[in-house]
């Protein structure tokens, strides 16, 4: 039985909400119940953005409960840390290695947390932390805006949904002109996640062949 609570976090302008819309579309197409809720804060741009997606046979509350996040997809490092205390024991975190300093940092009043601090927070309850160079790769591909779809590509490897469903959902949500580059970003995200997992398993000697298109996670 699929039951999955996904939290997607980032800053305004990174396409967090669109990413969660696509994930929700995919779950619905896969015949599941889904609820999602966005928190945008007051400002239009630059503030924290978080969206919660709950997927299952039947979902009641649109909110993910305390310590009940199975998967955290974070588009920005500081924002990933902000949700560390909501992670379930043994959750998975997919983190984009990218930082956007908030005003207090760019004004020199506070320091941006270091990578070790962030990973300490995220791993506190035993989460698997998978860091990918999403922003870097999106820029290499010529368009930083495709980050959200690249991140979805990575996420897709940890969900039980068929890649066809993802491709269909992405194509439906995006204007025709930018579908092609986004589908490439999606594939790039999938590849990135796989290679990081391979690296991680080589280091730890773990077998990780289960995480693919039809892993029955959760």
């Amino acid at each position: 039985m699929v039951k999955m609570n996904v939290l997607i976090a980032g800053v305004g302008g990174q396409g967090v909400v669109l990413a969660s819309d696509i994930l929700a579309d995919v779950a619905l197409e896969a015949g599941l119940d889904v609820k999602k809720t966005d928190t945008l804060g007051m400002a239009q741009r630059g503030g924290s953005v978080v969206t919660q997606v709950r997927i299952g046979e039947q979902v009641a509350s649109p909110l993910i409960g305390d310590n009940d996040v199975d998967l955290l997809l974070a588009f920005e490092k500081l924002e990933s840390g902000r949700w560390a205390d909501r992670l379930k024991k043994g959750a998975t975190v997919v983190l984009n290695d990218y930082s956007v300093p908030p005003l207090s940092v760019s004004q020199g009043a506070e320091a941006y947390p270091g990578d070790s601090e962030i990973s300490h927070l995220l791993k506190h309850r035993g989460a698997d932390l998978i860091t990918i160079h999403g922003s870097l790769h999106a820029a290499e591909m010529g368009n930083p805006k495709i980050l959200n779809i690249l991140m979805l590509g990575a996420l897709s490897m940890l969900t039980p949904f068929n890649p066809e469903l993802w491709i269909e959902a992405i194509s439906k949500r995006l204007p025709p002109k930018i579908i092609e580059i986004n589908l490439k970003a999606f594939q790039r995200g999938r590849k990135d996640l796989l290679s990081i997992l391979a690296e991680m398993s080589a280091e730890s000697g773990l077998e990780i062949d289960g995480h693919g298109d039809d892993c029955g996670c959760h």
């Binding site: 619905l28 804060g41 007051m42 503030g47 979902v59 509350s61 760019s106």
Partner: protein, 603 residues
């Protein structure tokens, strides 16, 4: 067909399919998307009204003329519309009239968390509370039918969580109910609320309520899910979901119509369970009514009255009462406290915001004091609601009050009349001025104020997501419209000293403001500059020449997020965020000529 819809999208679709002809609203989170979605349909009239009261009156007129009308607003909007709303209850309707109030438990984007369910009781009109998007969609047709059948406006109450969550909706029909064009039948006894007529109407309103109470008993949206006898839960709205999540085995009385209550149903339900509890967000609206029936019920003694609920809060309440088994909680590992120490990312003015310049000038005049009691006269800035309220945060800190829309102007006059020896500046946005600032200005002129009024015309209603307003030249449905000239409007209100100034010209802002503050009579300054979100950038950005830069930090005083101070104190500009030549505020502030314009790198 199944679709994922937000509560607001579901309302729009449901209303459209139910034959809606006229929709009127004023933007306000979390209600805004209802009208935005309706505006996309070409076979109805959807408008941004100047304020909620006007929207309500437009809805009443459409209803009197026999067509179905929808009026939507955020919870505090109903305060503004209350006079019309109460009157609509008295006259009743012809075409169905549905009023949507989107409440904001938890105050995600509001100044209070009032529970508007009391407005239904106050106005003696029926109240519907959907629990998800499916119900929001389904309840619309029902709401219009009830409105017409019982000759009453219907209040439908949403909350942020419902309005902004997407849930699966089974859509029953593709088509739209066909309705004829409007037509008006004169009926003075119904439509002219002179006392003599109103006295006839009031008893009818009471009878209507009694009939609705009977109707409530057999209405299918009030339903019982039988579970264990040990625990009975009465609930409505999104709280139903939290109750289901927490105690799926309990007996649940789920109410879709929460005013008037189906008393018989409540009594029978109460009699069939051992313990009875109401799970509701904010006020004990249901609890009080059930207690008044003489039924022993628990509610707010367990479930908080403040803030938004969730399943964990409901679970804690039930666990503490010993009604459900305690589940294992994660260890108190102090992680929450660690997370709290991370730098915050509060909402801010965008880089290139036309509001930044004027606030920076106000801040830099050297007149801002903690108090002027017993000290030198300073500068008090009464404010209002909009993006510009964000200038209250550091480093600008150039706003002293913000209460409700339009309030700043009246407050400024009140302070003057109280005899403070400071200069008082009132600041208001374009949309807010049209919403409820005009009467304040007329009043200030009339009553001999010497304030300076700043109207910040950024050519949009920015805070709620850039809606059109009567100043922008377009309607909600995208048609060109005449646009208000704010300077002329202020003059017509009786202000003789009115000036316009460019929002991005620091020198001009400073000199206009200085002479305004020296003046001993009322003056109005219209600060004009378009919102960065509606005017796409010109492809250029500014950059800092590290040779010339002395790292004095003056540019940082703008609070612009594109300007960054590095670990070594070096200053840089993020060229992706910078608005470039259309803004240039930092360039004007820099006395070392260290800031230059460049062509934006396309990454």
């Amino acid at each position: 067909m199944k679709k994922l819809l937000s509560g607001n999208e579901a309302i729009a679709l449901g209303a459209y399919q139910a034959g809606l002809k006229v929709a009127a609203a004023y933007p306000g989170t979390p209600s805004t998307e209802i009208l935005e979605n309706l505006a996309a349909y070409k076979d109805l009239h959807a408008e941004w009204s100047t304020n909620e009261k006007v929207a309500m009156e437009v809805g009443m007129g459409a209803s009197y003329a026999g067509v179905r009308a929808l009026v939507s607003m955020k919870h505090v909007g109903l305060n503004v519309a209350a006079d019309a709303f109460m009157a609509a209850s008295m006259t009743g309707v012809v075409g169905g009239l549905v009023v949507v109030s989107a409440d904001d438990p938890g105050m995600h984007s509001s100044q209070n968390e009032q529970d508007n369910r009391y407005f239904a009781k106050f106005a003696k009109v029926p109240l519907l509370e959907p629990s998800d998007s499916q119900e929001a969609y389904d309840f619309m047709a029902l709401a219009f039918e009830m409105s017409e059948h019982f000759d009453t406006p219907v209040l439908l109450r949403m909350t942020t969580r419902l309005s902004h969550s997407k849930t699966v909706v089974q859509i029953h029909r593709e088509d739209r109910q066909i309705t004829g064009p409007g037509g008006f039948n004169r009926n003075p006894g119904k439509f002219i609320m002179l006392p003599v007529n109103a006295r006839q109407r009031h008893p009818l309103v009471e009878t209507r309520l009694a009939k609705l109470a009977v109707f409530a008993e057999s209405l299918s949206i009030n339903r019982i899910a039988e579970g264990t006898k040990q625990l009975g839960i009465i609930t409505s709205g999104v709280s139903f979901q939290y109750a289901m999540e927490t105690a799926p085995g309990a007996s649940i009385l789920k109410l879709g119509l929460t005013y008037p209550l189906p008393e018989k149903m409540v009594r029978e339900f109460a009699a069939g369970v051992e313990k009875l509890v109401v799970v509701e967000e904010l006020e004990p609206f249901l609890e009080e009514q059930i207690l008044a029936m003489g039924i022993n019920v628990k509610g707010k003694s367990l479930i908080p009255r403040v803030g938004e609920l969730n399943q964990d809060i409901v679970r804690d309440a039930f666990e503490s009462a010993g009604w459900i088994e305690t589940i294992e909680k994660p260890v108190q590992d102090g992680l929450i406290d660690e997370v709290k120490t991370l730098p915050k990312r509060p909402p801010l003015l965008c880089p290139g915001c036309p509001h930044t310049g004027i606030f920076s000038v106000l801040h830099s005049l050297g007149l801002r004091r903690k108090t002027t009691i017993g000290a030198e006269a300073g500068l008090v800035i009464t404010g209002d609601i909009g993006c510009y309220t964000l200038a209250a945060y550091p480093p600008l800190e150039a706003m002293d009050t913000c209460a409700c829309m339009g309030a700043g102007i009246g407050q400024a006059l009140g302070m003057e009349k109280a005899g403070i020896n400071d200069r008082v500046v009132a600041i208001i946005g374009d949309s807010t001025f049209l919403h409820s600032g005009i009467t304040g200005l007329i009043n200030a002129v009339y009553n001999g104020s010497a304030m300076t009024l700043l109207i910040l015309d950024n050519r949009t209603t920015a805070m709620t997501g850039h809606q059109q307003n009567p100043g922008t030249g377009f309607t909600a449905q995208g048609a060109p419209a005449p646009s208000v000239n704010f300077a002329n409007l202020a003059k017509s209100c009786g202000a003789s000293d009115v000036q316009e100034v460019d929002a991005f010209d620091i020198k001009a802002l400073r000199s206009v403001l200085k002479s305004a503050l020296d003046s001993r009579s009322l003056n109005v300054i219209v600060v004009r500059g378009s919102c960065v979100a509606i005017t796409p950038g010109g492809g250029e950005a500014l950059t800092i020449d590290t040779e010339r830069c002395t790292q004095c930090g003056t540019c940082l005083s703008l609070g612009c997020t594109a300007i960054r101070k590095g670990a070594e104190g070096e200053l840089t500009i993020d060229n992706q965020l910078c608005r470039g030549g259309a803004c240039r505020l930092c360039q004007q502030l820099c006395s070392h000529q260290a800031i230059e314009q460049i062509i934006k790198k396309v990454v």
